[in-house]
């Protein structure tokens, strides 16, 4: 057992709060991405509340693990997780995307302490994470670098430049986590540009690859632990997730990739104006359902 029952309950409750934060902040912002942030809430919760060595009171602590969010558009889940972890007040989440806010529509390093880099344009996070891991390796520093990326951004050439680079320099302190939710703006990834077998591709590039259920805390934490034990290779964790996870009408609908609740008419969704309320009501009562997936 990686996690005790108590650990699991706490992580599930935290992830549920983060999902509610995400819905509320998106509605307040009136724009932004829904599916990715909801789908990655469990991974972010596991990282910030179990895996990362970090200190929200000292965001510039030199020994901290580095977390690079490559697909910056899912930043609502990053912000909500950071707020729940204590980096800044949860109330500030309501400023997302507003003029003067530290919570820019895509993350800006210089606005918010605790961000390692600005991101938004896809495909560049893994390179920056590799640069960080290279510094740690050459200077004998013990912190690890985590890079969160989407599946869609595997279509970017820059990603593969970084994949080759990380393998060449045997960056074993680099752990990439891919949100394999199979959707992107124009549709399903395998229709837009087939990625499978993403595992075979990374293995062919000399990476260590793990595949997990991205909603199973045991598997998320366990994979991060295993990555720590891998020497001489970077690790990719392919986290299979359900986009929109936790809100029934959003799950697996690519239409929610780039829209907030109450802003889009999508088949199967409640009418505009009722979508946020339905989502929040569902989240507040869904603890049992989400928990059941870990048993």
């Amino acid at each position: 057992m990686v996690l005790t029952d108590d650990d699991l309950l706490r992580l599930q409750a935290t992830a549920n709060r983060i999902r509610q934060d995400v819905i509320e902040m998106l509605v307040a912002a009136g724009s932004g991405h829904s599916a990715g942030p909801l789908g990655m809430a469990d991974v972010f919760t596991a990282l910030y509340f179990r895996v990362l060595r970090h200190d929200p009171r000292r965001p510039d602590w030199p020994e901290r693990d580095r977390l690079v969010l490559s697909n910056g558009h899912i930043c609502p889940v990053l912000y909500a997780t950071m707020a729940e972890a204590g980096y800044f007040p949860v109330e500030e989440l309501a400023t997302l995307r507003k003029l003067g806010s530290r919570l820019q529509g895509h993350p800006h390093r210089q606005k918010l302490p605790g961000l390692e880099t600005s991101s938004g344009p896809l495909g560049s996070g893994l390179s920056q994470a590799a640069g960080m891991a290279l510094v740690a390796q050459r200077d004998g520093l013990r912190w690890r670098t985590y890079c969160l990326m989407s599946d869609g951004e595997q279509e970017e050439g820059n990603t593969w430049e970084a994949v080759m680079f990380a393998a060449k320099y045997r960056l074993h302190s680099l752990c990439a986590i891919m949100d394999r939710n199979n959707i992107q703006i124009d549709g399903h990834t395998e229709d837009v540009m087939p990625l499978d077998s993403i595992r075979a591709k990374y293995e062919a590039f000399n990476w260590h690859v793990l595949e997990i259920d991205g909603h199973n805390f045991e598997q998320i934490v366990g994979a991060c632990d295993e990555a720590r034990a891998i020497y001489e290779r970077p690790t990719l964790i392919v986290a299979h997730t359900i986009p929109g996870k936790g809100v029934d009408y959003m799950e697996n609908r690519y239409e929610w990739h780039g829209s907030p609740p109450d802003a889009a008419n999508v088949p199967g969704a409640p009418p505009k104006g009722k979508q946020a309320a339905v989502a929040l009501a569902e989240l507040r009562t869904l603890g049992g359902r989400i928990r059941s997936e870990h048993e």
């Binding site: 690079v68 938004g120 390179s127 920056q128 590799a130 960080m132 740690a136 970084a162 680079f165």
Partner: protein
Amino acid sequence: MIGLAPHLDPRLFADDLPQVPTRNGYGEGLVLAGEADPHVVALCADLTESTRTEAFKEKFPDRFVEVGVAEQNLVTVAAGMAACGKIPFTTSYAMFSPGRNWEQIRTTACYNDQPVKVVGSHAGVSVGPDGATHQALEDIALMRVLPNMVVVCPTDALEARRATVAIAQHGQPTYLRLSRAKVPQITTEQTPFTLGRAEAYCDGDDVAIVACGQMVYRALVAARDLAAAGIRARVINCHTVKPLDAATLVRAAEETGAVVTAEEHQVAGGLGSAVAELLVQRHPVPMQLVGVQDRFGESGEPDELLEAFGLTADAIAQAARAVVARKRGASAPAR
């Protein structure tokens, strides 16, 4: 006689004036910067010898990173290293970096405000026989529009060496533009050099010629020729294209009333545009821009190409005569 600054090489107009590529000065400066600060690292995209990064690689193998032919990775890995306290110099040909990786430079170096140094060698038509695909003529424009970015185009190898040492320590993302071909070595150790400060190398009150890169030398030759015709030109080495030395340039416009710019770059978006943007708001005067006129380069020998593209002392002198005539109210055609 013209009022030349005494600190320039005394062989300035002689046949034995040394000729050295600015990339050589960069290579020397990089080693000096590395000796001065252990945080300096160098990354290269499969062009270690020709960008003169080799000396640094040999001296500091643990601080050198070979990324292969991957310019997007080049600057983004560097941005990651900069986020961990390093001062990364990234080298390639200007056509590829910043030619290919502009967005990565914008987001990961400039928007993040990390001190990534983008070093673009082989800029300008004087690259020579390789032809237009390798002759970056738009790089200054690409880099100068980016917030936080500093843009430096050294006039000769010694200045390139000093610029390299200087940009290692100023903490900002920076573009350093270098040449492949040998260029006249006009400055000496006595020549003043400060980042962000334009230096007058030749005094005159009839027209100001503002140049960067090897066009400074050609501007000095033009000033000598103009003097014979009774026109006294002030030649200004504007090695730092961004931020511009506004005080020096506005004063030059006020005191001469006519300005020519000269650069080995498209006239759109380069040094000439930068100077025009400044002067049109602060002290508009007749101006003429010497540079590449909205066309691609081609194969040839460096000097043949400079001649073919009108990047010569004669072209600068002709432009100077035209702006002086306009200043005096004569109806001179604008070339």
